[in-house]
Every structure is written in structure tokens, then in C-alpha cells.
Symmetry: C2
Subunit: 94 residues, 2 copies
DNA sequence: ATAATAATTAGCCAATTGCCTAATTAGGTA
DNA sequence: TACCTAATTAGGCAATTGGCTAATTATTAT
């Protein structure tokens, strides 16, 4: 929860996630889209990895990154639960 | 979106919101619950105010804080929309 | 072994965060 | 006015964040 929300608190990281939502990408492809250097992208990818929001698959010299949607869903669900909003209106079983 | 997510990225601020979700409170009541000084709480409340996540109502010398649930809902909805998750499965009108 | 490419880690720096104490503002009351 | 309480703003400090360049690791190909 904490690491995920911290990861989501940076706009570039959200945009990276949105990009990976559309299709898996490698670090160079990502760096091409965002006007920063590769090491900067790598840093953001590390943070997203720590939050379990993405996973990586090596294919030769390139690492392809995939979004882990379930983690995103669980976190947003957890937040909604914390404030009792969104997930229909089955507030509490009696 | 950005200011809201930054505000949500701190656990004490989420806990303050959860407290206000249960009932409106003033700054002293909040400071009593969290083992930090009042100025620290005040700083967090400022950040939550900037994000429009709370509003304040003066009543004499005390300020009572209220959660603004709609902002929370819109932000979480926006996030879900950004990643196309959660809000049922009406993905796109054809 | 050497070279080339993909990507990372290391190290530096400015800006921000988060906390504290001290000082100030706002409102109510004797 | 003077005083008291609620709460904020001001200012300082250590830790974190987010960016960069330079150096390193990992894999493949010649």
C-alpha cells in the first residue's frame, strides 16, 4: 500500500504504467517517450518494481517490463475499502 | 490528481482522512491521536487542504475539518479510468 | 578475446519532505 | 485592556527524492 502509493505519486511513473498497460515495453522504448535519461527511467522502474507494480522478463540483452494490474487493483480496492467508497454498497455484513 | 496522490502517499494523512471519514474533527483532536506535535499535524492538514481532500469550518477558536469524499472518489475513479480497471466492464461505448 | 548494445548501478547535487521548537495570529472572555 | 486557548506560520535541520554524468554489468556477435 505505502510503496504502491508512493510509486503512484510521481506523474512519470503513472505514465510509464499507462504505457505498459497498453503493451509491455523495454527500458529504451520507455526512455524514448519521456524526456529524461535512461538512468532516470531505470530509477523509476526500480521504484515500480519495489512496489510490485511491474515485472521484468529478460530476452537477450533487453528487459521487457510488464504491468502487474492485480497489485494496482488491490491497492485501489484497499483504499476504497479504507474510506468505504466505490465498491458497490455492501458496506458490512450483518 | 497529482496533489491528491501526493497527499495520499503519506500514511498519517491517510489515517487523518480515515478519522475524518468517521467524523469531523478539529486539529487538537487529530494531534491527540497521532504521536506528533500540533504544527506537524497542521502541516499535514495544509497539504490535505491544498489537495481539496478536506475543508474547514471555523467555530469560535476551533477549526473543524471535514473530509471531501467526492475528491477522493474522483481521483480513484480517474486512476481506474487511466488503467481501465475496476468500474465494472463498460470499457468503451461502440 | 574484443567489441557492441541494453541497461543498470555509483556518485553527485539541488530541491523537497517531514519533523521539531519558537513565535505569531485569531477568537473568546474576565 | 489583558489574558487564555486553538491553531497557525516561521525557521532550522536531517533525510529523501529526482535528476544528471560517468562507470559498470550482462548478453550477444564477430
Amino acid at each position: 500500500m505505502q510503496t504502491v502509493l508512493k510509486a503512484l505519486a510521481h506523474p512519470m511513473r503513472r505514465d510509464i504504467l499507462a504505457m505498459l498497460r497498453a503493451a509491455p515495453c523495454n527500458a529504451s522504448q520507455i526512455a524514448d517517450k519521456f524526456d529524461v535519461t535512461k538512468p532516470t527511467v531505470s530509477g523509476h522502474l526500480n521504484i515500480l518494481m519495489d512496489a510490485d507494480l511491474i515485472s521484468q522478463v529478460r530476452n537477450g540483452t533487453t528487459l521487457t517490463y510488464h504491468i502487474r494490474l492485480s497489485v494496482l487493483e488491490e491497492t485501489l480496492g484497499g483504499l476504497m475499502g479504507m474510506f468505504d467508497i466505490g465498491n458497490n454498497n455492501e458496506k458490512n455484513g450483518n
